[in-house]
């Protein structure tokens, strides 16, 4: 019993950074922009968040810094792929390399090589009166930091916005047929810019979640593929925020399992466990869990004339 509770706890903790990034990416992709640079942006966010938290002494300032840095990269990305209509895959790939290089370099400049990294002030586990004290359920659902709760609340809000509001309909429409939107007086560029910048802000926060909520430090390349898994979660979750929650739990479970197996020192190859999210995504794409269909105009630049 305890083992199961422990596993679920680990699963949810592992899921959080992927989930935050994925629910942002859903918005970008629904608007027609595929940002495979999520990994790089998460790295920048992780570094910015850690630095902000260290120098201000407040993890909240760290989160703010991560969000702004992500948004800034988002502006650049949006300008390149929306205004200049550059190839999204190429620019996204470049962002990953840029993010790794920038975060690594700045880390060495600011904190030096091999020095003892200062600890950032982290978010502590929130103790909610009554709820956290319920046996089993309390341990399962009410033993996380505040960011995790905020993320789940945001997820529900994002789901409602996307499917129940006029703005959400516009975002979905722009990713399907931008020309039709244009004839209805919708500003395609504005919607796409907004969705992309919002999604990169969340990617930034997702990175900071790793460096200041899960750990209290920054390490080079610490995102370690979670950005790619977040992109997979979007597809696996059929481009809906709630769907990414399911995907996040599955992928987080894979990582939790990997951690447990490593701790148990079995002979089971670690690499195979790491491959689980990607295998699941392939299954999702070929329709094992019901077909996941990408927005029709995804990755297609819109040229007004």
């Amino acid at each position: 019993m305890e083992a199961i509770i422990d596993f679920i706890n680990t699963d949810i903790r592992m899921m959080m950074p992927m989930l935050i990034a994925a629910m942002g990416l859903v918005y970008g992709e629904r608007a027609g922009i595929l940002n495979i640079g999520a990994e790089g942006i998460m790295l920048i966010g992780a570094f910015a968040g850690y630095t902000g938290a260290v120098f201000s002494g407040s993890p909240w300032i760290g989160i703010l810094a991560a969000m702004l840095s992500g948004g800034l990269v988002g502006v650049l990305f949006a300008f390149l792929v929306i205004t200049l209509q550059a190839d999204q895959t190429v620019v996204g790939a470049a962002l990953n390399i840029f993010g790794l290089g920038l975060s690594t370099t700045l880390n060495r400049v600011v904190f030096g090589v091999n020095s003892n990294m200062p600890q950032a002030r982290s978010f502590s586990t929130l103790h909610i009166p009554v709820l956290s004290d319920i046996p089993v359920l309390g341990t399962l659902f009410f033993k996380y930091n505040i960011l995790a709760y905020l993320a789940v609340i945001l997820l529900i809000i994002l789901h409602i916005i996307l499917f129940r509001t006029k703005l959400g309909l516009k975002i979905r429409a722009v990713g399907e047929n931008p020309r039709a939107c244009d004839t209805l007086g919708i500003n395609v560029y504005r919607v796409r810019y907004g969705a992309v910048i919002f999604s990169t802000m969340l990617c930034g926060i997702a990175g900071a979640y790793l460096s200041i909520a899960q750990l209290s430090m920054f390490a080079e390349n610490m995102v370690a593929g979670r950005g790619y898994i977040a992109l997979s979660a979007v597809v696996f979750g059929k481009y809906s925020p709630l769907g990414t929650l399911v995907a996040g739990l599955v992928f987080g479970g894979g990582q939790a399992l990997q951690a447990k197996m490593a701790a148990m020192q079995t002979n089971f190859p670690d690499e195979l466990l790491q491959a689980i999210p990607y295998l699941l995504t392939i299954f999702a794409l070929v329709g094992v869990v019901g077909k996941s269909v990408s927005p029709a105009a995804e990755t297609v630049p819109y040229d007004k004339d």
Partner: protein, 516 residues
Amino acid sequence: MANALEMKKICKYFSGVRANYNVDLTVRQGEVHALLGENGAGKSTLMNILYGLYSPTSGEVYLEGQKVNITSPEKAIKLGVGMVHQHFMLIPALTAIENVVLGMDEDKSPMLDLTTAAKKLTELAAQYNMELDPNAKVSQLTVGQQQRLEILKALYRGAKLFIFDEPTAVLTPQEVEELFNMFKLLTSEGKTIIFITHKLQEVMSICDRCTVLRLGEVAATVDIADTNKQDLATLMVGKPVSMVYEKADIDPAAQQTILQMENVVAKGTEHGGLKGIDLTIRSGEILGIAGVDGNGQSELVDCITGLMKVESGKVSINGQDMTNAAPKAVLESGVSHIPADRLARGVIMPMNLSENVLLMNTRKKDFLKGMFLQWNKINQYTDGIIKKYKVKTPSRNELIQNLSGGNQQKVVLGREIERNPKLLIAMHPDRGLDIGATSFVQQSIVDERDRGAAVLLVSTELEEIQTLSDRVAVMYEGQIMGIVPPDTPIHEISMMMAGIRYEDIVKEKEASGVGA
């Protein structure tokens, strides 16, 4: 009463190129006003100015007597202008009602209220005798239903002046009739319609007045009651256009059977497929296939060209058994194919003219030296086609996507005909083309027949079928209802298109003849 629309001295230049020059367009309230012109005559530019997609270089627009400055589609919609685009501006992944309310803010609330909107849409649809499930995905609607949805979308936004951009190009004859009934209903309520089309028959039957554009200028505005098809065609092209074709006499004794299909059965993609087709085409004749789209015509063509598997039966070309032969073998046996969907099957848009011409001729010995392409020879050949088929293009290096539909089709036509086919298959060869290009394409097809080719012509336009064919086969649900001479009365052909066999029509006629 003020005119619904007046456009005065509209000029529009695109980087120095003149698209509209001093165009005056006056549309009276409650009329169906046709806007005619060849492709590139400036119709779309003018309508895009009216809809706020382009801003005019100079000129004024008045709606119901008020001077307006339409700077965006949003503003056009607010002023009561609705446009039904030729390529529907719908989002297939969304439902009908989602498409309707998209971009609207009726109740000033951020939330979507689809239930109320759906109710309003259903009421609106009922008011115009339309049936539409507001919650159906657009991808599940037929083309006719999608068009109705486009009309409803404009009505929902309170449109008073409708622009229909070639709405009939994608419709079956029945759907065209329904659309025209809708036109009548709309105008009876005082709404005004601008109708863009290439089909003069339609202009004559539904419109009140007509403005003809030529090379960006108004050639004339005429009352339909005072004109005829030939005059309109002359106005459009600027010189008399021949719409009758002289066919050479073919000596029946010299005719050989080129295509023979015996009891061919094939599974359909969406519809019934083919249910036992018997068909013969001889050299020097055009066999027209009439029928409503989707009654097995594309399956018929695909079974001949090897693109679809024949379940049973036999296809022979020029005496050779070609049942289920590979497309390559079919092409090499002397078959040329002008496909229905030019974009999907006819050309590769981001490639230039030479490359598109080469596609069909990659095995031609002249074009190869070992494994290398002889570009000078290919280019020479392409230049020949450009000249002979009067393709309007800056050069053979132009990407084919930058050519007009008519010129793209001329490239396909040239590529296929220059192979001197024994059997030419042409499916909707002039769909979406203007009068000049249509006349060119049709003449080329007749010339092929005169040269001695067997021609299989598939078209949903009865007029085209009757003008060009030597014999007409009518298809219905994967079967041939009868093969008749081209001068068979239209109502008899229509009956066959609706699924009545010719022999039954004849029996009926004899019976009633006896009765009388």
